[in-house]
Amino acid sequence: MKAFSLHTPLAESDLLPLQAGDQVLLTGRLYTARDTVHQRLAALLAKGLSPPFPLEGSVLYYCGPSPAPPGRVIGSAGPTTAGRMDPYTPALLAAGVRATIGKGPRSPAVHQAMAQYRAIYLAATGGTGALLAQTITEVLLVAYPELGPEAIYRLQVVDFPAIVAIDLAGRDLYREVRQLTVCGGTGC
């Protein structure tokens, strides 16, 4: 397992050396986006309207943080299940999103869109939001405050840890693990 440092916004050339299974440490800006935000962003893009933050080279973090207690910038802030965003992801990748961070496997359609638009998928460890919050130094509400924890927040992060789950060559860690499992072998 190699560890790479990445700085946002990301260019395709930043992602070329990365292989599924590599550890990355992200520094820069992550934008939180969950179910409803995805629906709204996809609707904006479909209408040709501009999204509330620049998508080109951006990193989406599937996360709905808990509120910041006094003296902290954020509460707990771990990843949510990525699969729920799959229906909207290809449109966002087409609009310039370069990496997404979540947990769990992605659909074949997302897989294909990632290859087409040259993006990667990163897995962060679910249920470690207290630990991951340590890497977040600044939080800015970007849009949709009425969504509460599901609003878009811009997180400034330093060395946010994640594992490359799907790389530019299309290698997918979840699929590889699945093929080794009894699940993959027996088709159960």
Binding site: G75, G78, T80, T81, T125, A130, Q134, R178, V182
Partner: protein, 280 residues
């Protein structure tokens, strides 16, 4: 008759919310530590280390162990010789949740309407399971249930001919299909028997059994061991990224059922296995 003011329940629920979301129970931590000793996958080991570091940090810094502080599931065992006074029981429990989630800076994760989607803003309503028991005691259990693991749960109405093999297969298929998204290592609660409704509740109750404690019926205990071994042989591992630690525990609860039925339900919980109880 013992009179109990509902405000006592309100305060107890509030305190349970504050503790349960921050402090991962000792039996879960011990199971994670054991798993770390036994796990051979390097990636699996490093994920288990992160989880343990997270749970320590949550305790020390009084932060929620996971940002998904869940739907507040409340079990109330109510002695039949208790008379609840001073207001409405459900309102008191919801008020406890409201206060606990606000004071603890816990995330509001309840949508008031399943299809029209709007956050209720205070994590209410709670889901209340009430059971009347003999005597004059009261026991409250809070299980904050995150969406990821709850979404991976399922129920099936098998036929009696399916037998244990059918139950086993159903659970394994479910874990294979959606286990990786439910933040493994998992805690599995399995309900077998009852009706379409009570079977799911059995599975949920099975989650509350202390980890490592077997079912008192030796045959059920043997099935628990068999299923745990089978789940851990799947190879899904921590966070679904490979390894031997897929489940920390499997607990099965059984109940009588219709002669034509064999209901089975599996309720998944993630490694962030938060629950806490108090007896009043």
């Amino acid at each position: 008759m013992r009179e109990v003011a509902v405000s006592l329940l309100r305060d107890a629920v509030r305190d349970l919310c504050l503790e349960a979301n921050v402090v991962i129970p000792d039996d879960t931590l011990q199971a994670l530590e054991r798993a770390l000793i036994e796990e051979t996958s390097l990636r699996g080991r490093s994920i288990l280390e992160e989880i343990l570091a997270n749970d320590r940090r949550a305790r020390e810094c009084r932060l929620p162990a996971c940002q998904d502080t869940g739907l507040a599931i409340v079990f109330l065992e109510l002695g039949q010789d208790v008379s609840l006074v001073g207001g409405d029981l459900c309102q008191a429990i919801n008020e406890g949740v409201r206060q606990g989630y606000r004071r603890g800076y816990l995330r509001n994760s309840v949508s008031v309407d399943p299809l029209r989607r709007a956050n209720s803003g205070d994590n209410t309503p709670a889901v209340l399971h009430l059971e009347v028991i003999p005597g004059d005691s009261l026991r409250l259990v809070l299980l904050p249930k995150g969406g990821g693991a709850e979404n991976a749960s399922a129920l099936s109405m098998l036929t009696p001919a399916s037998g244990w093999e059918g139950v086993r297969r159903f659970v394994l298929e479910q874990v294979c299909r959606v286990g990786p998204s439910a933040c493994p290592p998992l805690v599995l609660g399995v309900g077998v028997g009852g009706s379409f409704g009570s079977c799911a509740l059995l599975a949920k109750k099975a989650l509350l059994r202390p980890l490592g404690r077997s079912h008192p019926d030796p045959q059920v205990a043997a099935w628990e061991d068999e299923l745990k071994t089978a789940v851990n042989n799947l190879g899904i591992g921590p966070m679904g990224l490979g390894g031997h630690t897929t489940a920390l525990s499997v607990a099965i609860e059984v109940a009588p059922c219709h002669i034509a039925s064999l209901p089975v339900a599996v309720n998944l919980n993630c490694h962030s296995h938060r629950h806490r109880s108090v007896t009043l």
